[in-house]
């Protein structure tokens, strides 16, 4: 598989604070990657380093298997960091024209990309008249101008209202479905879960996990159960080796599975044991629970 970005033993120190500690991971073409971590875990710093705006302390990174300099590589990358930064006195079109000049892209791309993010009818409005959602969409259009090999987004939905968040997310999914590699940094877990196929989890600058999202959620899931025969059900579950553990919260019993089992099999089993259930839901642990577990253990 083609490698887009390789990071090896990257470290960044701000005085006494180590923002990124010995970080290594690789980005392959065609996947959607998430960098997940609480605020201050080194996500933005890592992206800043590979985008040439933050100087690394030690370690290394290389774009496109080291065949080009970072400066040239960035022309094949589309990136937005934190807030959309544009010239407030220029219109959307003029701002994108400037980016075209930097990247060496033809001006004809401008209308095409404005169309994708739905800003074509506002192309002659000044940037400082835009709402935050529009600014963010303009930033995405700007990042797409050079038809990048990889799109890097840092907290793209930060500060947006629910509609804005939805718009940006569907935009990202649409771009991903067209085969563009995406690297998305976020502290919003469900964002990463909904959009990404791979994830790197960071905490205080250290890598806790890196791999596929579905492999991270490795458990077999759990049942949420309610029954009038509460005690009978509870003692059955506690003595069944198929279940790892059982949790009771009032009437609700949560039984964690030890091995795969679907809801109908379980239901049949209950019938055989003469236990009638008034509530049966099978769920998988969300990334959030997994993430909290991961960050707590360390």
């Amino acid at each position: 598989m083609e490698t887009i970005l390789t990071i090896t033993n990257l470290t960044k120190k701000f005085g006494y604070l180590t923002a990124v500690k010995d970080l290594s991971f690789t980005i392959h073409k065609g996947n959607v990657y998430g960098i997940l971590g609480p605020n201050g875990s080194g996500k933005s710093t890592t992206l800043g380093i590979v985008l040439n705006v933050v100087n690394k302390t030690s370690g290394d990174f290389s774009w496109f298997e080291g065949q080009t300099t970072t400066h040239d590589a960035l022309k094949k990358v589309g990136a937005i960091i934190e807030n959309p930064n544009f010239y407030p006195y220029m219109t959307a079109y003029e701002n994108l024209k400037l980016v075209c000049k930097i990247k060496g892209v033809d001006y004809s791309k401008i209308d095409e990309k404005l169309e994708i993010v739905g800003l074509l009818d506002r192309k002659n409005s000044k940037f400082n008249n835009f709402s935050l959602g529009m600014k963010q969409r303009l930033a995405i259009a700007s990042a797409l101008l050079n038809d990048p090999e990889i799109l890097i987004l840092d907290e793209p939905t930060n500060g947006l209202d629910p509609q804005g968040i939805h718009q940006i997310r569907s935009l990202i999914k649409q771009i991903a479905s067209e085969g563009t590699t995406i690297l998305l940094a976020s502290h919003l877990l469900d964002e990463v879960e909904k959009v990404c196929s791979h994830v790197v989890v960071l905490r205080k600058g250290e890598k806790l996990y890196s791999g596929r999202v579905d492999e991270m959620i490795s458990s077999h899931g759990f049942f949420e159960l309610k029954s009038i025969q509460h005690d009978t059900l509870l003692s059955y579950l506690q003595n069944n080796p198929d279940f790892l553990s059982v949790k009771v919260e009032g009437e609700l019993i949560t039984a964690f599975l030890n091995q795969p089992m679907d809801a109908s099999t379980f239901n049949t089993l209950m019938f055989e044991k003469d236990i009638t259930l008034s509530h049966l839901v099978k769920r998988k642990e969300s990334l959030e629970e997994q993430f909290l577990k991961l960050t707590d253990n360390n």
Partner: protein, 274 residues
Amino acid sequence: MLRLVNLELQKLLLNRTSKILIFISFILPFTVLILSSIKINFFGFFTLELGELGIFNFPIIWHITTFFASYFKLFFAIVVVSMIGNEYSNKTIKQNLIDGLSKKEFILSKFYTIVLFSLFATVLIGVASFLIGLYYSSYTEASIIFRETEFLLAYFVKLVGFFSLCLFFGMLVKRSAFALAFLFLLYIFEWIVFGVATKTFNLETAWKIKNFLPLESMYNLINQPFQRVVMTKYPENIDIAYDYGVYWYELLIVLGWTAIFIFLSYRLLKQRDL
């Protein structure tokens, strides 16, 4: 190179404030020059015609126009510091770099623009002086006309040097207003150095030291022309004779400072985490 200049010109010319300031810095010295060259009649009481004083004669006109025009450089100095200040306050410097502009290119695009502007201002003053001179000057032989055109070169180097200093201050403090304040501080600092040098050595050595400092070395390129005007009126008065020429070492000092300021701006940007 053209790409970098083009980039910076778009940033400047679409901004109304800097557009006005650039316009003023080109037009104002030009207008003042033209106005001073025409005959002004004060309601029939008397007529004021500066041309009569002989200041528009070749070759002294090169000296006079470049000296006065250089005062208008402050307008473009504001543009220079704000073109750095704005990049920081809008955080567009970060976005520019992410979009694929290297830190070197960023500084160079500013520097090329400075050079282009200085060149344009020099040509403008050159042409205006030439035309006014042709009209007023009593001497019109080519050898006299083109004598002392080195003042134009000095003017150009002076502008480039001064704007590079502004660029450096802009990069250093990131805020336009503070950068301009730093210019004033530097001016005071140079006089303090002069004062200390006078105390420790003597007046002559102190001047020699001050001539190497940035602002004084730029001022030195084009000495004040008043004494010279008086000299031409009373050539027999030798007491007021002074050396007003443009010397290669004066140019070299300013070019040296220019190189230092541009290099330091680059170093500063390279080491900074944005």
